[in-house]
Amino acid sequence: MVSVKRFLAPIILIVLLVAGTTLVFGTEVKIIAYYFHGNARCPTCHKMEQYTKEAIEHNFKDELANGLLVVKTVNIEEKENEHFINDYQLYTKSLIISRVENGKEIQHKNLTKIWEYVRDKNKFFNYVTAEINNYLKDSK
């Protein structure tokens, strides 16, 4: 009986520690905004990347600074990035936002309307900002 207690004690301690850390520090959440492109880059594609970066840098300064939000530009024609095509079912240059909790992707969204709004900078900014805000909402 004593040996079982001895065996259980460290396990319970570890469980309590992990639970305690999670309670204190919460789940580690990260929102990643990926802009995917290929080797050939068209003027509109450059514009979309630029607008995305501008919108995020302008509206999410704090989130960028504390690492909650990360922006990544990825060339899907590079061998190591090809998996993104299937992961996100990509068919053209795309902006994907992904919510990662404790290193694991929980959900993602393809912001397909960037093509519709690219001619209107304000609409583009509002769209990207609103979608990212939606993803950030639960993390604050």
Partner: protein, 232 residues
């Protein structure tokens, strides 16, 4: 009720027009317009070529639509394959056709099974050449065309019970602006040249002009899709 049935058809046609009037396929559209309006003194021939060009585009989109709707190929695989390779192929093809149109290269090499006459006939012939041009140009997806075709049209076709009709209508839509321009140029120049009684002079130059445009567009594609990609 009727609106619900008609709406997908109108949307498909509109998506096609939207693709064609955006700056993204401008280079291929310019080449197509010049090729279609080549026989400026024969509006009937321009009309026939235009119809053939549009049918060519329609066929390509229909085949792609069937392949995707029946799940023979996945959307990301098809979309990325076409964007990666077709745009690389189209540059050299345009360059070679352009050189043919300018009579800079003539095919006297025996290994070519197509005779000189037939080669010229293909470049000259409105209908066959335009059909092939339409089918090939439809395969060269620029980013916006891919966004509209794979992102908007295919989901629409998957939902609709008339699935395959929609890619066809999309094809017609992508052809309309080009056809309107080609016919407009042909009719405009015809009446203009009749005014000056120089009807035949323009047509002689049109083949050369088309050749030059093909070479320029070809170089643009080679530069943009082969050389720049290679340098990266």
């Amino acid at each position: 009720m009727i609106l619900q049935i008609i709406l997908p058809f109108v949307s498909a046609l509109w998506l096609g027009i939207l693709t064609s009037i955006s700056p993204c396929p401008l280079a291929t559209n310019i080449a197509a317009i010049s090729f279609l309006s080549k026989k400026i003194n024969h509006p009937k021939s321009v009309l026939q070529s235009s119809i053939a060009y549009t049918v060519g585009r329609m066929l390509t989109y229909a085949v792609l639509g069937v392949v995707i709707i029946t799940s023979l190929a996945s959307v990301p695989a098809t979309a990325n394959f076409l964007q990666k390779y077709m745009n690389k192929i189209i540059g050299p093809v345009l360059l070679i056709v352009g050189l043919f149109l300018l009579d800079i290269i003539k095919c006297n090499i025996p290994s070519f099974s197509v005779s000189q006459d037939k080669q010229t006939a293909l470049a000259e012939s409105g209908v066959k050449g335009s059909f092939i041009l339409g089918a090939i140009f439809a395969l060269s997806f620029c980013p916006l065309a891919a966004a509209l075709f794979f992102g908007s049209l295919i989901p629409l076709a998957l939902k609709s019970s008339y699935g395959i009709v929609l890619p066809c209508l999309y094809g017609i839509g992508t052809g309309i602006p080009v056809v309107v321009f080609a016919l407009g140029i042909a009719m405009g120049i015809t009446s203009f040249s009749k005014w000056f009684h120089k009807a035949t002079t323009f047509e002689v130059y049109m083949r050369k002009i088309t050749g030059i445009i093909f070479i320029l567009v070809g170089i643009y594609f080679i530069w943009f899709h082969i050389i720049v990609s290679f340098l990266q």
